[in-house]
């Protein structure tokens, strides 16, 4: 394997910064795409559940089954249909976000205190105004918590998409790393994906804090 050579070859890293940057960019792109689409679908489904609560069980059940299917398997099962492509990767990635996001959006909305809703109705909000101006802002912490979990999970899953040719940091870990017995590339890929996950988590946490000033106010009071 690599006896005789230093464990991490920094010169390789410096020489290949552009490639590393490209893979990082691919990774971020795939994550953002999956989260955006996943959130849009989850939000729509959550609104559906809000008007028809009986649908919660089946929808969560189905998304749960998708979630339980191992990523390698789901990616592989899509290949015959959508090929070795980013599209296959994205379909699977989006599916994995659903169960977390739907559950958190629905739970967040259910957590709005009933007296607040009664006051809102009694004061003359239309149902749509009530949703956007009262219920969603109050549900925001739980929703963003779901976004955090989904984002970190997705970043992890994107690493595996390299197996079906979708690139990302997984390429550094597997294709130029493990498959070529080249540890430097492997570690670069791992460190970057962990760093990316932590950065995304902290960023969303900061976003959550900024959007919910009233939660901070209690801590200070």
């Amino acid at each position: 394997m690599n006896e005789g050579q230093p464990f991490i070859r920094w010169d390789w890293i410096i020489d290949n910064l552009d490639q590393i940057g490209r893979r990082l960019g691919e990774h971020v792109y795939m994550t953002l795409l999956a989260i955006s689409i996943g959130f849009a679908i989850s939000f729509a489904l959550a609104m559906l559940i809000r008007s028809r609560p009986g649908l919660y069980g089946p929808i969560i059940g189905f998304s749960g089954i998708l979630y339980a299917i191992p990523s390698v398997a789901l990616f592989a099962l899509l290949v015959p249909f959508t090929g070795l492509s980013v599209l296959s990767a994205e379909i699977a990635l989006v599916s994995y976000t659903l169960v977390i996001l739907i559950r958190n959006i629905v739970t967040g909305l259910e957590g709005v205190p009933p007296d607040v809703i009664e006051a809102a109705v009694g004061m003359g909000y239309t149902p749509s105004q009530r949703l956007w101006r009262v219920e969603l802002p109050i549900a925001l912490p739980v929703i963003v918590a779901g976004l955090r979990i989904a984002t970190v999970t997705t970043i992890g899953l994107v690493t595996i998409t390299t197996l079906i040719g979708a690139g990302g940091l997984g390429y550094l870990i597997v294709n130029t790393g493990i498959r070529r017995f080249f540890d430097t590339s492997t570690y670069t890929g791992v460190v970057l994906s962990v760093a990316l996950a932590i950065a995304a988590d902290l960023l969303l946490l900061a976003l959550q804090r900024r959007l919910t000033p009233w939660a901070r106010a209690r801590a200070e009071a």
């Binding site: 464990f7 390698v72 398997a73 592989a76 015959p80 992890g156 595996i160 790393g177």
Partner: protein, 244 residues
Amino acid sequence: MDGIGEVIAWFTAPEQWSGNNAIPLRLWEHVSLSAASLAAGVAVALPLGLYIGHTGKGARTVIAVANIGRAVPSLGWLGIVYPISVALLARGGLGFWPTFVALVALSVPPIVTNTYAGLREVDPDLREAGRGMGMRESELLRRVEIPIALPVILAGVRASAVTVVATATLSSLVGGGTLGAYVVQGLFINDLPRVVGGAIMVAALALLTEWGFGALQRASVSKGLRERASAQPPAEALRSAAGA
């Protein structure tokens, strides 16, 4: 669709049932690796979770563990451990051992956080009543807290189990076989029926794990807790938990 026909043909072909790439062999590799990793993970995580949950101390540790667990993806653990295991064990460092260590690392966070959360949810009045009755801490844990927290604890084990079974497929990337080997081989040589066949088996195994542990979890809810309506006074709950 003739694709299905090809997949079935691949399944039933004799090569798949003998030799060192046979389905039974791969299945055994997968199940044994998963079981061993889960057992080790439980052995590490459960006592830790019980201690933190029972005493209530160390919440920060729990959160830190959970966060680290979340941030490092499955492939990431493998990527970290594999070069080390190869450096340490050369050929022996392929396949089983790096995957095993990575799987154990993955299985620990859900068990710790769920065990902690489950124990924290136990009504503190029950603990106080138990101590008042003269129960030792270990008896309290064994007869009261764990039975009540069991569903939540098992939910954590279930999450771990599914993650372990799913990630065991990656073992094939480092020479470890398992059902994932079919997927990886198939993608390498562009043999789609092999890819799909492998993927279906992995998916089926994961779903079986999820449902199996789910049934176990449901069965573990003690009869007294099943009827939500009944609210027993602490002494009653303790007496029935103590089996008196």
